[in-house]
């Protein structure tokens, strides 16, 4: 229990630390704002158009594959930890599970989803 309390305390202190650093920065730094200085940086040119645009769908597909594999890993971790106590059936079962996922990866691969264009 103390271990988790320590993690919680670390979270709080780690969050306070950058605030302290920023506070010192706030005290020490000069302040000379100017409209040009505060404009968006783009190598000396003015920004054209809106920055917050819609993204390519490619990113979402990667995100979807990521979610699938990440959930898979969540299943794999307990299996790996308990592996020494499990019998052969667990091995076969996990092989089938992995094969299905590998099949999914190969399908995505063949469909050209993994090509970055």
């Amino acid at each position: 229990m103390t271990d988790y309390a320590l993690i919680g305390l670390l979270l709080v202190v780690a969050a306070i630390f950058p605030l302290i650093a920023m506070f010192f920065g706030f005290i020490l730094r000069p302040r000379k704002p100017a409209p040009i200085k505060k404009s968006t940086y783009e190598c000396g040119l003015e920004t054209i158009g809106e920055t917050w645009v819609r993204f390519r769908v490619q990113y979402y597909i990667y995100a979807l594959i990521f979610v699938i594999f990440d959930v898979e890993t969540v299943f794999l971790y307990p299996w790996a930890v308990a592996y020494n106590q499990l019998d052969l059936f667990a091995l076969v079962e996990m092989f089938i599970f992995l094969m299905i996922l590998l099949g999914g990866l190969l399908y995505a691969w063949r469909k050209g989803v993994l090509e970055w264009v």
Binding site: D3, L9, V13, P18, M22, G25, T47, L91, L114
Partner: protein, 402 residues
């Protein structure tokens, strides 16, 4: 002989003894819960101060070595041999004007500078720095590292999006795509080790390597290479530093940050690089185990050696292209990590644990896999390989200049 061993034992346990002595001193005038709380607070402070202090010299170390690789001196002005360069940098960054673009989303822009530091410090809590020197020996140790480690992605995306700058946005999007792609092989490659250990606790992983009397890099060399490659990409280090590829997108997600907020990103990056080396040391290189020298010395020797390899890679390898980067993760690392996991599971069922036969079986398995990859990737029988013909250089025809 006895005396020497006693001294070695004392040096090995010096930090543990120090903490016991400190808590005993506190117990004289404080109730139990007070002692627990103050010890916890002290541990947390030690971790954070350690993180900050290691930056001071890791930074100089890195710049010195990069300098040597690029045939120059590196920092050598401030302090003896330029060792205090990082302190000077910190003072400079603290006194720099802080520019927030008018168009930026101010709240998220400022929060994003706080966010990346938190997970980096939190990872330090479960690292076993030496025998008995772990701040919190969680039973879910490695899972905790994975869970906390991926929070950095959110911070980077917050920075990229809230800056309202096209370079920052591109950098942020790239970083997210890269980090989620490389997280899969990074997480999958360690499953083989967890399977051999039967526990997620970092301390048990180190102790299991003591029982095998071999570091896991011998049993799982492929997993080590996969882990290290993916981890380097995960912390956006060269040659996978596309998120901040200065030749394309200025500085990536932290283009608009200046002063102390920029320093926060820098800090997070260095501590992250240190922690992946420390995790690789713990999981694959036997952690604090080693002969003669105290355990914490072994831990730091191995970790800084890996850090040196990281710097070496940065100084040697060119940056990858975006499509190469994504393909490398999904088409090479992920299938390999899955294959490694399946074969490890198979071999682990066939051979007895903690035996030389087992170790040899794992090694043979890895060699077979690596040979298979080599055969598939570079087939000898493939005819369409471009023949390299060396044409002798002939003298260029003289052009009459008149």
């Amino acid at each position: 002989m006895e005396a020497i061993q006693g001294i070695l034992e004392f040096i090995d346990q010096i930090f543990v003894k120090l903490s016991f002595w400190f808590s005993a001193q506190l117990a004289n005038f404080l109730p139990d819960w007070g002692v627990t709380f103050i010890m916890m607070f002290a541990t947390v402070l030690v971790l954070i101060v350690f993180g900050l202090a290691s930056i001071i010299w890791i930074n100089v170390f890195e710049r010195k070595i990069i300098g040597r690789i690029q045939d120059r001196y590196g920092p050598n002005r401030f302090g003896p041999w330029g060792l205090l360069q990082c302190v000077a940098d910190m003072i400079k960054l603290l006194t720099k004007e802080d520019v927030t673009p008018t168009k930026a989303d101010r709240l998220i822009f400022n929060l994003a500078a706080v966010a990346p530091v938190i997970p980096t410090f939190m990872i330090l809590a479960v690292l076993p720095f030496g025998r008995g020197m772990v701040a919190a020996d969680l039973s879910i140790g490695y899972l905790y590292i994975v869970a906390v480690g991926c929070l950095g992605t959110i911070a980077i995306f917050m920075a990229g999006w809230s800056s309202r700058n096209k370079y920052a946005l591109l950098g942020g999007m790239r970083t997210v795509a890269q980090m989620i792609s490389y997280e899969i092989p990074m997480v999958l490659s360690v499953v083989g080790v967890l399977l051999l250990v039967g526990s997620l606790s970092m301390v048990s992983i180190v102790e299991a390597q003591g029982q095998w009397r071999l570091p896991f890099v011998v049993l799982q060399p492929l997993a080590f290479v996969l882990y290290f490659t993916a981890a380097v990409a995960e912390v956006n280090r060269s040659p996978f530093d596309l998120p901040e590829g200065e030749s394309e997108i200025v500085a990536g997600y932290h283009t608009e940050y200046s002063g102390i907020k920029f320093a926060m990103f820098l800090l997070a990056e260095y501590i992250n690089a240190f922690s992946i080396c420390a995790i690789a040391t713990t999981v694959f290189l036997g952690g604090w185990q080693g002969p003669i020298l105290p355990s914490w010395a072994w831990f730091f020797i191995k970790t800084y050696f890996l850090y040196f390899v990281l710097i070496w890679m940065r100084g040697t390898l060119p940056r990858l292209r975006v499509d190469q980067l994504m393909n490398f993760s999904w088409k090479t690392l992920v299938p390999l990590a899955l294959a490694n996991l399946m074969l490890t599971a198979l071999v682990a069922k066939l051979v007895p644990q903690y035996s030389h036969v087992g170790a040899i079986a794992f090694l043979v398995m890895n060699v077979v896999v690596i040979v298979c990859i080599a055969l598939v990737k570079y087939p000898r029988w493939r005819r369409d390989r471009r023949e390299v013909v060396l044409v002798p250089r002939t003298a260029t025809p003289q052009v009459d200049s008149s």
